[in-house]
């Protein structure tokens, strides 16, 4: 055996490994034997760190010396809904500083929910000579000054994508920092920015970058400038418009329609802020070839939405507001047979009464008509067990199912029963379900169904559900592939957590807020399980100033090989052996 292993020269193995990109496969290779571990670590070019606190920059650099592409994720998912206070953490600067010296040839940085400062962006701009890709997804902490540094210095930049980030928008002038000699742009997404960039700078940039295939503009780009931009980039594959509203003028319309017709490669559209129906026909000629359509900012009504989607026979992904109503979803089901992903957002999330006629029936129709539908995010105001069971039977291929009923704890509106059986049907029929968010009135029984059936489930989101610790116990003991669990406002306490403590080390993270987990249980978990960081978040003051049995406000537990972190703000306490002494 030993002979066989050493008779393969390293170069050959390395060459074979170079065809393997997936992280899980790479991890598997590295565990075959010591020599494969060594060879693999020297030739791994891409790393993905799902929780930036699970490992430290020096540890990563020590093991993987030749990395070209890094992806990091920071804050827990519930930060998207303002449940994580300001200053919690997720700072990227220490990573950039470490990589600046260790990876001078780094090409790609992708970050999600991290705090990125202008200093970090400036350091990126000057440290990596061959820097190509910067994706900042739901990040914050930087301003347009940082973007100016990237634009000015990264000669080989191909991709700059700021999707859904919160940027301190000082001015649009940063875009003009791309030098005239810069022509390598392939993808630009500035849709989250508020202020106006110079339109002529934008047009010139677009015009001199022949490889540009993705352009997502911001709301400040007026409709009457869009035609000019499109004419300079007829090769575009993905476009996000700016504001899609203007006075109806025949000449503006015809230039726009002409420009769209000229974009023969266009497959994905987004933007459409303030959309007026009068300008929608400008995109009709390209609708049949669209595969992705994001109308979630378009406040147009169901008649116009229906007319639009009915022409998009190749549509695979649709994001839309609930203005589409059941009737529009029926049309979607009838005409868009290739649909894979549907997201319906609420137009008036805080209204008590429904403002549109969108019910469970719309989702049932799409589940019946679209055989490839596997990913759903649906906001509505009513649901029944029958509807959920129908959806489950129709779509056993469902992999991501996220339902949100606006009213917490809403029962089946016809039978007034909990929605346990409906979601039970989902997990029973959809055997490959990876992600689930539940809604409505739910008892411990739904968790029993999940524990029994949801064997491929990786991420579960729970809110205002369950009766007792039994619920949490079912999930932790039954879901073999669970990686992320996030819970809010559920009556889960210490028992289930303590019984299933070992499970927590097999998961990426657990979030619990407004539950009944006591400070004492948190301390116990932190002390007993070595490679878990147990972090208590409490804005009422130190948890030690209250009885041990007192529930904590928020709890975030994650596995790590880096030990407790040192960048916690005043309202976060870590439970480990040392802190137990400090806190008592």
């Amino acid at each position: 055996m030993l002979r066989m292993a050493s008779s393969f020269p390293e170069e050959v193995l390395e060459h074979v490994f170079s065809f393997i990109y997936d992280d899980k496969d790479r991890n598997a290779i590295s565990m075959v034997c010591k020599s494969w571990y060594e060879i693999e670590r020297w030739c791994r070019r891409r790393i993905f760190v799902g929780n930036c606190y699970a490992v430290s920059p020096p540890m990563v650099i020590r093991r993987f010396p030749e990395v070209r592409s890094v992806e990091l994720k920071g804050k827990p998912h519930f930060a998207d809904f303002n449940l994580v206070p300001e200053g919690w953490g997720g700072y990227v600067y220490p990573w950039i500083a470490a990589m600046a010296t260790a990876y001078p040839w780094l090409e790609e940085i992708r970050l999600k929910r991290m705090v990125v400062t202008d200093e970090a962006l400036e350091l990126i701009a000057k440290s990596f000579k061959n820097f190509k890709v910067l994706v900042l997804s739901s990040c914050e902490g930087f301003s347009t000054d940082g973007l100016a540094a990237i634009a000015a210095n990264c000669r080989n930049l191909k991709e700059l994508d700021l999707r859904e980030s919160e940027v301190d928008d000082l001015s649009g002038h940063w875009l003009s920092h791309f030098p005239d000699s810069y022509t390598s742009l392939v993808s630009l997404n500035i849709s989250c920015l508020g202020s106006e960039v110079s339109f002529s700078a934008l047009e010139r940039l677009v015009g001199r970058c022949p490889n540009l295939r993705t352009l997502r503009l911001n709301r400040a780009v007026p409709l009457d400038r869009l035609a000019n931009i499109l004419c300079r980039a007829p090769q575009l594959v993905e476009l996000g418009t700016g504001t899609y509203s203007a006075e109806l003028q025949p000449d503006v319309f015809s230039s726009l329609a002409g420009a769209f017709s000229g974009c023969k490669e266009l497959r994905s559209l987004s933007g459409f802020w303030d959309a007026v129906p009068g300008y929608l026909p400008a995109i009709y000629p390209i609708c049949p070839s669209l595969t992705s359509l994001n109308l979630s900012y378009a406040t147009i009504q169901s008649t116009d939405l229906t007319k639009l989607v009915s022409q998009c026979q190749s549509l695979q992904r649709l994001w839309v507001l609930d203005y589409i109503e059941d009737i529009g979803l029926e049309a979607l089901a009838a005409f868009c047979k290739d649909l894979r992903e549907l997201r319906v957002f609420p137009s008036e999330p805080f209204a008590q009464e429904p403002n549109v006629s969108l019910t469970e029936q719309g989702l049932v129709s799409v589940s019946e008509g679209c055989p490839k539908l596997h990913s759903v995010l649906y906001f509505c105001r009513q649901m029944t067990n029958d509807a959920l069971a129908t959806i489950a039977r129709n779509r056993p291929n469902m992999t991501r199912f996220r339902l949100c009923i606006i009213e917490p704890r809403a029962p089946d509106y016809i039978t007034l029963q909990p929605l346990d059986d409906g979601f039970g049907a989902i997990v029973e029929h959809c055997k490959d379900l990876q992600r689930l968010s539940m809604a409505g009135l739910l008892t411990d029984r739904v968790f029993e169904h999940i524990g029994n059936h949801a064997k491929k489930l990786e991420m579960l989101s729970v809110a205002f559900a369950g009766d007792s610790d039994l619920g949490l116990h079912h999930v932790l003991s039954g879901c073999e592939n669970l990686r992320k669990l996030e819970i809010r406002d559920c009556p889960f306490g210490d028992k289930a957590l303590l019984v299933n403590a070992a499970k927590l080390e097999t998961m990426r993270s657990l979030w619990m807020s407004s539950c009944s987990v006591s400070f004492g249980a948190c301390k116990l978990l932190g002390q007993k399980i070595p490679r878990l960081n147990v972090e208590v978040m409490d804005e009422r003051g130190p948890p030690g100033s209250r009885p041990e049995s007192c529930p904590v406000e928020k709890l975030y537990i994650y596995r790590t090989v880096a030990g407790p972190r040192f960048d916690m703000p005043g309202f976060v306490w870590t439970m480990d052996e040392d802190s137990a002494l400090r806190l008592s």
Binding site: F78, L470, D489, A501, E548, S549
Partner: protein
């Protein structure tokens, strides 16, 4: 339900679980809940945070969370909530609101500033003066009776609506242009549609 008892028996909970305190002592769950209420110091006034916090400290199985002020509910990103609100705000802030007015048969259009008028009577009077015609009497059932003209407007959705059906403020925020219809078209619109 058999649930809880079976859970205790099947798992042999007490034997395997990590426990707080010495073996043989029991914890009181009620104590946990009451301490949350007693020891809570007043939170700083941070709007939603405050309302949300009160919901959090309730014991299990209490009435539903307060509506509309629970932090992070419904689970929608801030930028989405903001993008739905903005257009209305900007319209309200502006001090003038010029819209085109056309009259069937007239050679050219006029423009008027809607913000100058306090309500429908003033607006209609101004239109009558501008185009030298008379508008009939408005009723919800029959529209404008007693005249061959009907004042209409184009709304944000591109539909042509009869002036006067909706509250003035709503009309102001949705009116994009005006058209004074004449003759058979006008009568068609006014006939109890």
């Amino acid at each position: 339900m058999e649930g809880v008892v079976a859970y205790e028996n099947d798992l042999n909970l007490k034997a395997t679980e990590l426990r707080l305190g010495l073996p043989g002592t029991e914890r009181n769950q009620e104590q946990a809940v009451s301490c949350a209420r007693n020891n809570k110091r007043p939170l700083p006034e941070t709007g939603d945070q405050n309302g949300g916090a009160k919901a959090k400290s309730d014991a299990p199985n209490t009435p539903p969370a307060p509506k509309a002020h629970t932090v992070g509910w419904p689970p929608i990103r801030s930028y989405r909530k903001n993008s739905l609100q903005q257009p209305k705000q900007t319209a309200a802030e502006s001090s003038v609101m010029y819209v085109k007015v056309s009259m069937d048969g007239a050679p050219y259009l006029r423009k008027i500033d809607l913000k100058v008028y306090q309500g429908y009577p003033e607006l209609l009077k101004a239109l009558e003066n501008m185009f030298k015609f008379t508008i009939g009497e408005y009723s919800e059932r029959e529209g404008y009776k007693g005249s061959e003209y009907a004042p209409t407007y184009e709304d944000k959705d591109g539909d042509w609506m009869l002036v006067g059906d909706v509250p003035w403020e709503m009309f102001m925020s949705s009116c994009k242009r005006l058209r004074i219809m004449k003759g058979s078209e006008a009568r068609g619109l006014g006939c109890g549609v």
